[in-house]
């Protein structure tokens, strides 16, 4: 009989149920969309922040002090220490290896340069002291587990604009900084010979593949494949500076403490959280003899902005949740109020207040589940739309959001109907049936 009354109530007044259900579905759609976006957005935004470039720099511990002004190192050529390139695959073996999204080793030398035009005609003379940057453009690093990792300076420094194309690894090709190119009238397709010290014989030239605009000191230099720079500087298999771009969690008060003061439990927690300091620590352990420093400019700003934006989105989500809950509550309250005569009739036929309340609550709950489910579907579609448009990747539907939405739907409808239900159970059947 109970089920029959519930089924009847849905069958008889489909329009009313449809409207209450629609309010529920829309409200829960708001909640789902806002929650999905907020849950997902942290990681996506952290990735966006990588467009600011590397947030860690690795230098040799034993290095002498660089005398660098405006991107030019005034140290004698042979001063300073170097690091082995062969160690680099180890970067992808640290605990947070999946958070390391790019790295690029750098070897800088000063050399003499001699440009040639496209036809092979030599123009100009040897220019001395040109900064040469050796690095990877897009390099496949073989990993210890057998895979490969594509990385290079194009990924660590996404703001570098290339007019033309990058050089291929190990090829006799190069990319020329825009200021240097302008000064020496170099265009894409020309070529340049590079030599250190002895310029009596002209080495095989590198073909200019593109013009680089970085907005930094690199605009004055020539960027060549790392292996070419190594042979030019007679430092095979070595580099001097390593830029790493890692996804991190913004540092909180806990992360800012000195790791030496941690208890073992705190240390584990710190080690197993992708704070920039713990990632730096793990890299230092993998690459012995290095100094891993956090690029404060990038890391601190990122942490601060990310925290703010996340909080903002959570608050928007909270506000949306509140409004949806109120509207849904109002809707279910309305649907109970209008059933006064029905309640009167049931009571006149001998139903107790408890039975009536239970019946109506069951109806509302059923509605909540259906409405919540439909709302979840609407919300997921909308969240995908937002995620897809803005980040180019849709958030994954998550079970937690589904459970939260269903629970919220049930809670809100019950709360919304609680007051009118309570009042309904106090009704005297006679005046209601008389129409008063």
């Amino acid at each position: 009989m109970f089920l029959r009354i519930v089924a009847d109530s849905f069958g008889r007044r489909p329009r009313h149920k449809l409207l209450t259900g629609a309010a529920l579905a829309l409200g829960m759609g708001v909640v789902t969309a806002a929650l999905s976006v907020s849950l997902d957005v942290g990681d996506r935004l952290a990735k966006e922040f990588r467009s600011l470039g590397a947030n860690l720099v690795v230098t040799p511990q034993a290095d002498s002090l660089p005398l660098e002004i405006g991107g030019v190192d005034y140290r004698p050529v042979n001063a300073g220490a170097y690091l082995p390139e062969a160690d680099l695959p180890k970067l992808k073996t640290i605990f947070w290896h999946n958070n390391i999204i790019a790295f690029a080793p750098i070897l800088e030398v000063r050399a003499e340069a001699l440009p040639f035009s496209r036809e092979g005609g030599r123009f100009g003379n040897w220019t001395g002291g040109v900064p040469i940057v050796g690095t990877w453009a897009d390099h496949a690093v073989p990993l210890p587990d057998g895979g490969e990792f594509q990385t290079g300076v194009a990924r660590t420094n996404p703001w570098w604009q290339i007019d033309g194309g990058w050089f291929s690894d190990g090829a006799m090709e190069c990319v020329v900084g825009v200021a240097f190119a302008k000064k020496n009238h170099i265009n894409v397709g020309d070529s340049i010979s590079l030599a250190i010290g002895d310029v009596t014989k002209t080495p095989a030239p590198l073909k200019v593949m593109g013009i680089l605009n970085s907005g930094g000191p690199e605009d004055e230099s020539i960027v060549i494949p790392l292996s070419r720079a190594q042979s030019l500087a007679s430092r095979p298999g070595q580099y001097r500076k390593l830029y790493i771009s890692a996804l991190t969690k913004p540092e909180d008060a806990f992360a800012k403490r000195d790791p030496k003061t941690f208890t073992p439990a705190e240390y584990d927690r710190w080690f197993c959280t992708p704070y920039i300091s713990s990632i730096a620590f793990q890299i230092q352990q993998e690459l012995p003899g290095t100094d891993v420093r956090v690029i404060r400019r990038v890391a601190e700003g990122e942490g601060q902005i990310l925290t703010r934006v996340r909080m903002l989105l959570w608050l928007v989500t909270g506000a949306a949740l509140l409004a949806a809950a109120l509207a849904v509550g109002a809707s279910s309250a309305a649907s109970v109020i209008e059933r006064r005569s029905e309640i009167g009739l049931m009571k006149a036929l001998g139903a107790g207040s408890g039975t009536v309340g239970f019946l109506l609550a069951a109806e509302q709950l059923l509605l909540a589940f259906v409405g919540g489910g439909v709302g979840y579907a609407i919300g997921i579609v909308l969240a995908r739309l937002v995620g897809g448009r803005i980040f180019g990747a849709a958030p994954e539907p998550s079970l937690i959001v589904f459970l939260v939405v269903i629970a919220l739907a049930a809670g809100v409808t019950i709360l919304g109907s609680a007051i009118p239900l309570h009042r309904a159970s106090q009704y005297e059947p006679a005046p209601i049936l008389r129409g008063e």
Partner: protein, 399 residues
């Protein structure tokens, strides 16, 4: 004729009054739904306007985004200079937010490090290092080049300059806060006491920061600087405009964006503001629909009222007008109350997120109220369906 119209109008308002008074429970429910919608609309609209403006200020925690260097000499920064007075001639504000700026002068010095200032201090070592003279116009130097203080001391020694050490140069010479340095450029000598050791993560880690006067004295070039950096708040378009203004105004220097930050910031700003707009739009749309569905639900139960009015000769148009007026009034009341709540809400939210209360925008208030009224009126429209109802069947209890 005029008399009848007046009577009609009196009756109209009387019915409206009674509609409100008849069922306080229903009135409350409707006001709740409409008020909640209005509150969220007002809060989100206000926050949306405010948050975008504030985000651009937040981006300044990334440091400087514009660089001014001597014209035509990117590399030899130690030889070409610009007058220091330029620092004070630059526009001080952009969109009511002060522009942080700093001037730098670089020189290579021969330094000798001592463990402290006293006469029997231990000599820690000596060698060449880059010294950077700096002067900033900002509440905090971190607004130009963000850093973290590793060590600091508040020791003030009269007649002695203080200097700040980069992390690496300090580590190399085993210098700590309160250590002392002898600086020598050419034949000029000077000294300073280390007040802080700072971690930058860039080339600044290899530098010793001294006061601008001291650097100019050591380098022998008074009132000259190597470079000026600016941290200009604003949207990507505003920053571009600011750079263009400077380029027009100061012809003998080179003004350029620090592309690493301007480009990255532009990208992130566009993403975040897009995200915010999209989220707010979706939340507003769905909240509106949700409120509408709740209101329609309430309106649908007015069948008997409609039937009665039609039975005593009310035309459908007049009946509908009655209900629309009721809905509009409810929307107005709910909107006025809800929007006020929403604006206070957004002030609180702004304070929670950015630490500064969001400035309420007056335009938001009427917009939120108007939107609520529109939603309320739209949700009364399903009553139009009742036009086909025959009064008799309503009273017989059918339909």
């Amino acid at each position: 004729m005029a008399d009848r119209r007046a009577t009609n109008r009196a009756m109209f308002w009387r019915i409206i009054r009674r509609l409100f008074g008849a069922n306080p429970g229903r009135l409350f429910v409707m006001l709740l739904a409409l008020g909640a919608g209005a509150a969220v609309t007002a809060a989100l609209l206000n926050l949306q306007v405010d948050a975008k403006r504030r985000l651009t200020t937040e981006f300044r925690s990334l440091g400087a985004n514009i660089m001014i260097t001597p014209r035509g000499s990117d590399r030899a920064l130690e030889s070409a200079t610009i007058p220091e007075s330029l620092l004070d001639r630059l526009p001080t504000q952009e969109g009511n937010v002060p522009v942080s700026r700093a001037a730098f002068l670089y020189a290579v010095a021969h330094i000798t490090a001592y463990s402290d200032e006293g006469t029997n201090a231990a000599r820690l070592g000596s060698g060449p290092a880059v010294i950077t003279g700096y002067r900033y116009v900002s509440e905090d130097f971190g607004r130009i080049i963000p850093y973290r203080v590793l060590e600091g001391s508040n020791i003030v020694i009269l007649d002695t300059d203080t200097c700040e050490m980069g992390q690496r140069v300090a580590a190399l010479y085993h210098l700590h806060a309160a250590g002392a340095l002898e600086l020598k450029v050419g034949r000029t000598e000077d000294s300073c006491v280390v007040s802080e050791v700072r971690s930058f993560g860039g080339t600044e880690d290899n530098q010793i920061f001294v006061s601008m006067e001291q650097a100019q004295r050591l380098a022998g070039i008074p009132h000259q600087v190597s470079m000026i950096q600016l941290s200009v708040p604003g949207t990507p378009v505003q920053i571009k405009h600011y750079i263009e203004t400077l380029q027009r105004e100061f012809l003998n220097v080179e003004v350029r964006p620090i592309r690493q930050f301007t480009e990255g910031e532009a990208k992130i700003y566009n993403r975040i503001s897009g995200l915010l707009t999209a989220t707010v739009a979706i939340v507003l749309l769905l909240t509106g629909l949700c409120v509408m569905a709740a209101m329609t639900n309430v309106a649908m139960e007015r069948k008997i009222d409609v039937g009665l009015m039609k039975a005593i000769g009310g035309s459908m148009r007049r009946v509908l007008r009655l209900f629309l007026a009721e809905a509009a009034l409810l929307g107005l009341a709910g909107g006025i109350m809800g929007a006020a709540v929403g604006i206070f809400l957004s002030i609180g939210l702004g304070k929670a997120v950015f630490g500064v209360a969001a400035r309420p925008r007056l335009i938001v208030y009427p917009v939120a109220v108007a939107l609520t009224v529109i939603v309320a009126i739209l949700s009364a429209f399903p009553l139009r369906r009742l036009a086909s109802i025959r009064p008799a069947s309503v009273f017989r209890g059918e339909a």
